[in-house]
């Protein structure tokens, strides 16, 4: 068993969930998302975030609007759509089930 592989499998499942939850809290610009994830010690490359956002947007989970920026080109601010909210709710309940199950199992003492 490769520990890296197992860890990445774990991260993989929750990345989307994390990104959606950041956007759900407030309309966000990709750099904000990266920054917030970095603060939470969940490092990802910007280059992986852009395609993921585009896919979620194409799947109608996300919307965006252009916001003028004084430090460069206009920025895309992403927000959740109705569909995205529903999707998020499902992910959230799955996550809660999982954490409670994992919590019980890992704390289980015979």
């Amino acid at each position: 068993m490769n520990i890296d592989n197992t860890q990445s499998q774990m991260r993989k499942g929750i990345l989307e969930f994390c990104i959606l939850s950041i956007i759900k809290r407030s309309e966000s610009y990709p750099s904000d998302i990266i920054e917030e994830m970095r603060r939470a010690n969940f490092q990802i490359l910007e280059g992986t975030l852009y395609p993921l956002l585009t896919r979620l947007k194409n799947a109608e989970m996300l919307n965006y609007r252009w916001v003028e920026s004084n430090s460069g080109p206009p920025r895309k601010y992403f927000s959740l759509t109705e569909k995205g909210l529903a999707f998020y709710a499902e992910l959230e309940s799955t996550w809660e089930e999982l954490t409670s199950a994992v919590g019980i199992l890992t704390q289980f003492k015979p």
Binding site: R11, K12, P30, Y50, P51, T54, R55
Partner: protein, 648 residues
């Protein structure tokens, strides 16, 4: 000091070092290739570009005078290089697709949600990008396809296939940033002539001497062949040397011309089919440096030194090499595509559309011609078709089976030329439906006509002949007295002719056979045969055949045609004239017998027709020769011409 230039990037003017701008361009290019199959590629790229622009401006605001290589490298590693993204993507599993190792490889070639399709490569083309597209589709090295194509060009059809594919296939940017596939290169380190043999050896993972021997075999064969010539037929050695050996030379030189040299570490890895990533490049570079001794046997000292230098250079900057690898292969392909091939491309495209245009035009003309021919000279059709139903079926077949596709093609061409995109799908449905009806009427007509020939009847009558003087019978076919009175429906064909009064039909579907007579007299047997739906009909039709012949001393005169009534239609009426020659008597068949136009139609149930013009048993003799009947059949009685080999 590096030269600083101003570039316009995402709407802002950015002062940047020239080398950094080169890095930027290569980076964007490599991302473009990495995301080549991603649905929202352009959007992703433009998002990333905006982000880069923003980072540039932030740096400039902080007081930097320009963007340096250092800045650029920082930015690139922040956003991620294609290799990092590839690793990250499989690690953190971006997106909803599950990323098993296998799917990762597939993703490199096609978008997993999209079905694999054949495209032309827009970014890796020597002429039209067909070879690269096919290679991508089949998952093999483009060089192999180029070689095959060059050979098929010699065969002739390859040119047409290439042009058609060029015209038909849509263009798409291919992912040349492919780290998995093995590629064919020439190996500059181990070359005797062009490095082709060692490159091939690396590709197939076999020892290079095997390939060298194969390539040298024509020369070996030449010497061996010369010394063995005394044992073997010269043709065989000639064949081996010219056919096999010659093509090996051609193959070698074609490969020399087509294959790129493996110059960078990444290319050398691809040549051996090892996966190209940072680790393996590092490994190769280290290997090259440390194992020089071990490799010295294979490499000349010089090449080794060169490799070591290269390795050193690479190690200092090997990350960049790896990152730009996608571009390097790409630009290598571009480099060889010169302006000349662009011009050739345009010419070829005009040529292809010209050919398609001519093809459709001639189809249309053919259709029009066939229709007018049937409308004006339709006796032949009346002669084959027996009732109204069959006539209707014929027209349905003509219009729906042939006409509809022709009109469809014409519409398509007009659309293609005018660039009209909109398309009403009901037009397509209607055309398909009508065409299916056409198929149905085609098969119905076919089986109706086939049923005319269901049964066969033969009627034979024997006439005794007077023994000719000299016991030799000459068989001739008389010319038809009123040849002017009859119309030829299609000259030189077995089709019957019709007289101008249009009441009777003349057919030359006659053959002559010579058999041994059972008694001591000459006989002539006339076998009339016809087909029909029923045996009774066939019988009646066979009886209705009018055929005349007469004897004038030693000459048997046959008529050129037999006649039938027009209402009897075409039911494969045939006449077989069997001349029975007694033992010891002689016979001579005159050249005029060639005027007969024998044909036969064999009907295989359900499989259609098979028209034969010659009967198997009929030609064991030649014209204008005297033959004598013996117990074993005819034998030549001509003393002057004995040589059987001198056929006319």
């Amino acid at each position: 000091m590096n030269k600083v230039i101003n570039i316009n990037f995402q709407g802002s003017i950015i002062p940047i070092e020239e080398s950094a701008s080169e890095l930027l361009r290569n980076y964007i290019q490599s991302l473009r290739q990495y995301f080549a199959n991603e649905e929202g590629r352009d959007e992703i790229i433009s998002d990333i570009e905006s982000r880069i622009a923003e980072l540039f401006l932030q740096r400039l605001k902080k007081g930097n005078t320009c963007i340096t290589d250092m800045d650029m490298k920082e930015i690139m590693s922040g956003i991620g290089h294609p290799e990092d993204l590839h690793a990250a993507e499989s690690e953190s599993g971006i997106g909803s697709e599950s990323t098993t190792a296998q799917q990762k490889t597939e993703r490199n070639q096609t978008n997993s949600s999209e079905q694999k399709r054949l495209y032309r490569a827009s970014n890796n083309q020597l002429v039209g990008g067909v070879a690269a597209g096919l290679a991508d589709y089949l998952g093999i090295d483009v060089s192999i396809l180029r070689v095959i194509m060059i050979f098929s060009l010699f065969a002739g059809f390859g040119f047409v296939v290439y042009l058609v594919l060029w015209a038909v296939l849509p263009e798409k940017e291919m992912n040349t940033f492919d780290t998995h596939k093995r590629r064919l290169f020439r190996n500059p380190e181990e070359k005797k002539l062009g490095g082709v043999a060692s490159g091939l050896a690396a590709y197939f993972s076999i020892d290079v001497w095997i390939l060298r021997i194969i390539f040298l075999s024509p020369i070996l064969l030449f010497f061996v062949g010369n010394s063995v010539n005394s044992w073997f037929d010269k043709d065989i050695t000639d064949f081996i040397f010219r056919g096999f050996g010659g093509s090996l030379f051609v193959i070698y030189f074609v490969l020399w011309a087509v294959l790129p040299e493996a110059n960078t570490a990444a290319e050398k890895l691809q040549m051996r089919g090892e996966k190209v990533d940072l680790e393996s490049i590092k490994k190769t570079v280290n290997e090259e440096m440390q194992n020089l001794k071990g490799r010295a046997e294979q490499w000349s000292k010089d090449a080794g030194k060169r490799a070591a230098e290269k390795a050193k250079m690479m190690q200092s900057d090997f990350t960049q090499t790896a990152k730009n690898m996608g571009n390097q292969t790409n630009t290598a392909a571009r480099r060889s595509a010169s302006g000349v091939s662009n011009a050739v491309g345009i010419l070829a495209r005009i040529f292809v559309f010209g050919i398609i245009g001519i093809l459709i035009f001639s189809l249309l003309m053919g259709f029009a011609g066939l229709t007018t021919w049937l409308l004006t000279g339709h006796q032949i059709i009346n002669f084959i078709l027996v009732d109204e139903t069959e006539h209707y079926l014929l027209w349905a077949t003509l219009i729906l089976f042939i006409g509809v596709p022709v009109v469809g093609l014409l519409m398509w061409l007009v659309r293609a030329v005018r660039g009209v995109q909109t398309r009403n799908k009901y037009v397509g449905y209607t055309f398909t439906f009508l065409h299916v009806l056409g198929w149905i009427s085609f098969f119905a007509l076919f089986s109706f006509i086939g049923s005319h020939f269901h049964s066969k009847s033969k009627q034979s009558s024997v006439t005794n002949l007077i023994t000719p003087s000299g016991n030799t019978l000459l068989v001739v076919v008389d010319p038809f007295e009123d040849e002017d009175l009859i119309e030829d429906w299609r000259s030189g064909s077995p089709w019957p002719k019709m007289n101008k009064m249009e009441d009777s039909i003349y057919a030359a579907n006659i053959k002559v056979k010579v058999l041994q007579s059972k008694d001591s007299l000459f006989h002539v047997r006339v076998v009339k045969s016809a087909n029909g739906k029923t045996f009774q009909q066939a019988n009646r039709l066979a009886e209705a055949i009018q055929y005349s012949l007469f004897q004038n001393d030693s000459v048997l005169h046959l008529s050129k045609y037999f006649s039938l009534s027009k209402k009897d239609k075409f039911h494969l009426q045939q006449v077989s004239v069997v001349v029975e020659v007694p033992l010891g008597a002689k016979v001579k068949l005159d050249r005029t017998i060639q005027n007969f136009e024998w044909h036969d139609i064999r009907i295989n149930t359900g499989n259609g027709f098979n028209i034969e013009h010659y009967d198997d048993e009929s030609t064991d003799w030649e014209y204008d020769r005297v033959y004598q009947m013996g117990t074993q059949g005819l034998s030549s009685a001509d003393i002057e011409v004995r040589d059987k080999g001198s056929k006319i």
